[in-house]
């Protein structure tokens, strides 16, 4: 099974407190900690486990700048065989459709049976996988939390749906799946693993290599644009309890008694 996993470098929500910049229109990116999108680790782990079982190879790909190479290396340290960086000034400002168009061009240059993405990333749109599938006329399933390979023509996948239920589907290969967290336990990557792949060559491809019309991607091709970031006025919000921990606990216990919590 030849598997391509699309990954993304994102601000780490567990490591950052997000603040706006001085102009108040973008995140203050100076001290942001970036890492690989959490969902993508599950997708890469799943791909590695499938290849361990049935053979083949795992390639990780991302659309980004030079700094995105580090997330490819991290996923290669997990066990992905190859990495590809799709990078070009013309890609900047792409919307989801633009990113999907760039990935589609790369997918068509390979011979993949299965394309995986994370179910969503930092923007929370969860859009790229479904768009790539539609562009390629491959079947698609989102929020996948189980994969059973039936044979080299089809797979069964479980989708996480509301209420903790699971929707089972049979998909013909090649297909595109977006992977939900919890499908597996992504392996730990240590410094030694990273060192092992530090010198592996990662090809970089731009719009000319991919045969893309520069106007179809990037800001020029984007129908959807982020104008700015802001912090909404949320009204009053919670009554914040302050003081020493003892004082806070005293106040909290009174409230819990009044509300039936104790």
């Amino acid at each position: 099974m030849e598997i391509l996993v699309c990954v993304k470098r994102v601000p780490d929500t567990a490591e950052n407190e997000f603040e706006l910049n001085g102009a108040g229109n973008d995140l203050d990116r100076d001290d942001l900690v970036y890492s690989v999108n959490e969902w993508d680790n599950y997708a890469v782990e799943e791909a590695i486990q499938m290849v361990d079982n049935v053979g083949g190879s795992v390639t990780v790909v991302t659309v980004g700048d030079d700094e995105s190479e580090e997330v490819l290396r991290r996923e290669m340290a997990m066990g992905a065989n190859n990495g590809v960086l799709l990078s070009d000034d013309a890609f900047e400002g792409s919307d989801g459709n633009g990113i999907a168009s760039i990935l589609k061009a790369e997918i068509e240059k390979g011979n993949y049976d299965l394309i995986l993405t994370g179910a969503q990333a930092d923007e929370g749109a969860g859009q790229v996988g479904g768009m790539v599938a539609a562009m390629l006329d491959y079947p698609y399933a989102s929020l996948v939390n189980k994969i059973d390979i039936i044979d080299d023509k089809k797979i069964n996948v479980g989708r996480e749906i509301e209420g903790g239920n699971q929707e089972m589907n049979e998909l013909q290969l090649p297909c595109v799946l977006s992977i939900q967290t919890g499908i597996n336990e992504p392996r730990y990557v240590g410094i030694r693993g990273i060192r092992k792949v530090a010198k592996v060559d990662i090809p970089v491809k731009g719009s000319a290599d991919l045969g893309l019309d520069a106007d179809s991607v990037g800001a020029a091709g984007a129908k959807t644009r982020r104008v700015d970031y802001f912090v909404p006025d949320m009204g009053e919000g919670a009554e914040m309890l302050e003081g020493s921990t003892d004082e806070i606990i005293g106040k909290l216990i009174e409230k819990l008694k009044a509300k039936g919590g104790l």
Partner: protein, 322 residues
């Protein structure tokens, strides 16, 4: 004239609540637009939902086909591409179904795509202005979409005020004949029901619910001790289940259980909308989080900025001494 189509999903003959929220969303996009509900399915359930929708929407399109009996997103997408006129705006709820169908639908319609929209700020010409969130709700963004060739937009359930409905007296048009080829390379097999766990968190009046702030599996004991002192049950947010520290049956959220406790103790939970989507019945919410900017503080009744690993044992002790 802008045409807006709202795709209304339903379960067991009951339309999802978002059916009442689409009209407000559509009004905020373009108050002069025509709004049409689309329902797809098969048989009596479909007819009953179409009937219900005609009380809320002026126009209802129904598409009846055996292949649509279960809403396989790939099949529904094919039907919609054939039925929705070019250049229209299609609204879909941002649910597991919406996430499945909407991105591909936008490609097939050659339309703009916007996901998980929580508010609209109207259109200027062909530029639609919208609000959504990023980074798990930590920040909001203004986004624009060029809707000159139409748009597919998923709207967040619960984000728009529901209409009363009841008296629209809408017309129902049967477009089953226009659905076209509904063959698919993806076949729906079955729905496997969620496993029932050792405790039923939906039955407890008080929940001590833990999130990422618990940091380590070993620390769950600290939450269990607090729960015992409060005669409560421990529940959790998604990352705890993903890490396999607690059973799936203890997960609160749209992809887990829906709970209606009297008191909800959100311990180290940031408060994503997927998590809060599982907390119903307007409980008294106590949030403890060391990040003062955690979104949970916007919905909680009482907030405390502390590290739960230090705070919970002290609270347990104080309650035990009562």
């Amino acid at each position: 004239m802008t045409q807006i189509f709202a795709y209304v999903p339903f379960n067991n003959g009951q339309a999802e609540d978002v059916a009442l929220e689409f009209p407000e969303a559509a009004k905020k996009i373009d108050a002069s637009a025509t709004l049409t509900a689309i329902v797809t399915g098969s048989g009596a359930d479909l007819d009953s939902v179409a009937g219900e929708m005609s009380k809320i929407y002026g126009q209802v399109i129904k598409v009846d086909n055996e292949a649509l009996a279960y809403p396989n997103a790939e099949v529904v997408r094919k039907a919609l591409v054939n039925i929705v006129p070019e250049g229209s705006i299609v609204l879909v709820p941002h649910t597991t179904f919406g996430m499945d169908i909407a991105p591909g639908l936008s490609v097939k319609m050659d339309a703009a795509y916007a996901a998980d929209i929580i508010d609209f700020q109207g259109a200027e010409g062909t530029t639609l202005k919208m609000i959504r969130q990023e980074l798990g709700g930590a920040v909001s963004t203004h986004v624009t979409a060029d809707i000159s060739a139409g748009a597919v937009i998923t709207v967040r359930p619960g984000a728009f005020a529901p209409v009363d409905g009841g008296s629209a007296g809408g017309t129902i048009t049967d477009k089953s004949g226009d659905a076209g080829d509904l063959s698919s390379k993806r076949q729906f097999l079955e729905v496997v029901a969620a496993e029932i766990g050792d405790v039923d968190i939906t039955k407890s009046d008080v929940l001590v619910s833990i999130g990422r702030g618990i940091e380590d599996e070993e620390n769950i004991e600290v939450a269990q001790e607090l729960a015992e002192a409060m005669n409560a049950v421990v529940s959790c947010s998604r990352p705890i289940v993903d890490a396999k520290w607690l059973e799936k049956s203890r997960q609160v959220g749209t992809s887990g259980q829906t709970v209606k406790p009297k008191v909800y103790m959100a311990m180290g939970i940031s408060g994503s909308f997927q998590h809060l989507g599982g907390v119903k019945g307007n409980p008294f919410i106590v949030a403890v989080n060391k990040n003062p900017k955690a979104p949970i503080f916007q919905v909680a009744d009482v907030g405390i900025v502390e590290d739960i690993l230090e705070f919970m044992p002290e609270l347990t002790e104080a309650i035990s001494d009562l």
